[in-house]
């Protein structure tokens, strides 16, 4: 009995010293701790997590050294250096990890989360913990529409995924006006299902009488799409929509283009941009490519973008893809807000970030929805063309869609807005 009590007390005190010892190391006043949560392992690490982490590393170094072009040429966040803590999003205890990041590691700001599932779980916790949290990449519109309707501490600096698929529908109809049937091949999880639902609903609204010939939902990371491609080839739809990303998308490109899928149907890849650099000649000409916003080759011409592309290329040997752009968007949003508030105190940053308009390598971002907590941006789509002389793929026939054209107005849920026939959309 006694030994048991002794042991408990002993182990408790060991735990306590171990814990408090590390928790006491508070951040110095001229330094701000930012926790970054992205996928560092698992299937989403290569295409999303690592490019985002790379962009974060580059931006932190450049911001701390004051090397980012205007208007971000002051060093640090309102003068305070960024001290990053990276953790892996690939974990089963996301909420406990988040709390540890905030409470033990003492993160002043948390920037992160790629998977919509993680975002859903973290959204209420951020408010509970009263910690400034910026989602940088996850796409589900439910975050502010259903889960966290009165956000205080939570922000998202990337537009949600509705925009991608509404714009995709508009673009594909401008290219293929006589489309009579559509088909989808999307991963069998929330992202793929949502993307296909938004795209097919938009198509039906934009062009009455369009038929759905087949809806393929292979398992995520399946890698082998022989049967699905055969099914798409036998059905011969005018348009094939896919929100595949990363390795799955590249596998679909390799297997599909080998079998003529891309010449039989007009294929649209909403995240195709990440494969452009690597696949080059293997990507069929005429494929419609998106980048989840005006990112990568769809980014506008501005000084920030030129600087970012070059700096990224010099450091990592490849051009940044859209997850990197999304990360930059989040970091610059926080910097813009901190500089505006002239403070790194989270309450001041948070009030400054609310409703803020700031400029990024992907153009203007405005925190317009959900009481100034959800960003909208313009978006763009283009058609792939491989240039044999330069050995590089380019996008031609780029069309831009204003933020107000492809995003719902502030008081409307995304799906209701599509079903209403894009009420209040302003497409100039």
């Amino acid at each position: 009995m006694k030994t048991f009590l002794k042991k408990t007390i002993l182990s408790t005190s060991i735990c306590l010293t171990a814990v408090t010892g590390s928790a006491l190391s508070y951040a110095a006043a001229d330094e701000v701790k930012v926790g970054f949560v992205t996928f560092l392992s698992g299937g989403a690490a290569g295409p999303f997590g690592i490019p985002a982490r790379n962009a974060a590393e580059l931006m932190i170094e450049s911001i701390n050294a004051g090397k980012v072009p205007a208007p971000y040429n002051s060093a640090g966040l309102a003068g305070a250096k960024i001290n990053p803590i990276f953790i892996d999003e690939n974990s089963k205890q996301k909420v406990a990890d988040y709390k540890k990041l905030v409470q033990k590691d003492g993160a002043d700001i948390v920037v992160g989360y790629i998977s919509s599932g993680s975002c859903k779980a973290i959204a209420p916790v951020a408010e509970e913990e009263k910690k400034l949290t910026v989602f940088f990449d996850c796409g589900t519109p439910q975050i502010f529409e259903d889960i966290n309707t009165k956000p205080e501490y939570l922000f998202r600096t990337a537009a949600h995924a509705t925009m991608d698929n509404v714009a995709a529908a508009k673009y594909v109809l401008s290219i293929k006006k006589d489309a009579s049937s559509i088909a989808g091949i999307n991963q069998n999880y929330a992202w793929g299902q949502d993307s296909w639902r938004d795209f097919s609903a938009s198509m039906k609204k934009l062009k009455g009488g369009v038929k759905v010939s087949t809806e393929q939902f292979p398992k995520i990371y399946a890698g082998q799409y022989g049967s699905e491609i055969s099914a798409l080839l036998t059905k011969k739809p005018s348009i094939v929509h896919s929100s595949f990303w990363g390795g799955d998308m590249e596998a679909l490109l390799i297997q599909g283009s080998g079998r003529g899928l891309f010449s039989r149907s007009q294929v649209i890849l909403t995240t195709g941009e990440t494969a452009m650099q690597r696949l080059g000649p293997q990507m069929p000409n005429g494929t419609i490519i998106g980048a989840r916003g005006p990112n990568g080759p769809l980014a506008p011409d501005n000084e920030l973008n030129d600087w970012f592309r070059k700096a990224y290329f010099d450091r990592f040997g490849s051009y940044p893809t859209y997850p990197s752009y999304h990360m930059v968007q989040a970091i610059l949003g926080v910097k813009a807000a901190a500089d505006k508030a002239a403070s790194t105190e989270q309450n001041k940053i948070k009030s400054a970030l609310k409703g803020l308009d700031f400029t990024t390598p992907s153009g203007n971002v405005s925190m317009a929805l959900s009481g100034g907590h959800q960003a909208i941006t313009e978006t763009a789509y283009g058609t792939y063309k491989y240039n044999k002389d330069t050995g590089k793929g380019t996008l031609v026939n780029i069309k831009r869609y204003a933020a107000s054209c492809v995003n719902p107005p502030a008081n409307m849920k995304s799906l209701d807005w599509i079903e209403s026939g894009f009420k209040g959309a302003n497409c100039q």
Binding site: G43, G46, Y221, Q224, T234, G247
Partner: protein, 298 residues
Amino acid sequence: MLTAIAIAVDGLGFAAWLFLSSVGLTLIYGVMRILNIAHGGFYALGAYSSAWAIGLYLQTGSTVAFTYLLIPLSAIAVGIIAGLLIERGVLRFMYGRDEVLMVLVTYAIFLILEDVTKIIWGTESLVAYQPAYYLGNIDIAGIPYTVYKFALIGLAIACAAVLWWGLNRTRTGKLLLVVIEDREISSALGINVTLFFTVTFIIGATLGALGGAVTAPQISVVPGIGAEIIVMAFAVIVIGGMGSIGGAIIGALFVGFARAISVHLYPAAELFSIYLVMAAVLAVKPYGLFALSERRKI
């Protein structure tokens, strides 16, 4: 009709791939009674090394034809290096331990291999599609298929034939069957069981790596592909009966056709078609279709 032909070809193609990806697992289980989760790691290593070797080789501008040699060579290299290291370095200290504990051991090895591939090749995807295209296409009922897919079907049949011949028609193979039947008696009869285990593990590892290596040209090789293959391979060999080569063939055909049928006729069921087949088969034949005989000790 068109759909029926497509189902037949797709099902066969997928089954061939499944067989190539799972036969190493069933071989190791049959001989060593180890349910080898590190199989997924071998698969990933094979895929990475062959994609990497093909990429390096093609940078020299030489003809694609020789890449078909590189694929098996990289698989053999992975099998020998990784297989030998793991069997001699870790597993041999564990023989005779509980089967479940061995699952855990190989899982730990799998976790380590995952990060090893990440350290060697980074997290960016590798693509080496040239071998898949070089052989061209053929049309079947108006649907183009790559010849590479048919080459894989041929390779799967050849693999099965060689394994069958090796096990049943050679002296070594027959000795191996004795080892499978009773480990203790065979070692008492003077058979070098340890050597058999080492060689079997290397062959199993090579087969796992070969599965990855031949798949590499069709996909984009990314971190995490190893984890995907494990459950699929388990399902295949459990349906067929664990440890049986013939069972792996039947299991692959079952799963391959189940998937092809669901994709063409009812895509919504694709995600769990494999598990439905597995549950259905096990409900009728508890130990798989071609289970090895198991004596119950009283």
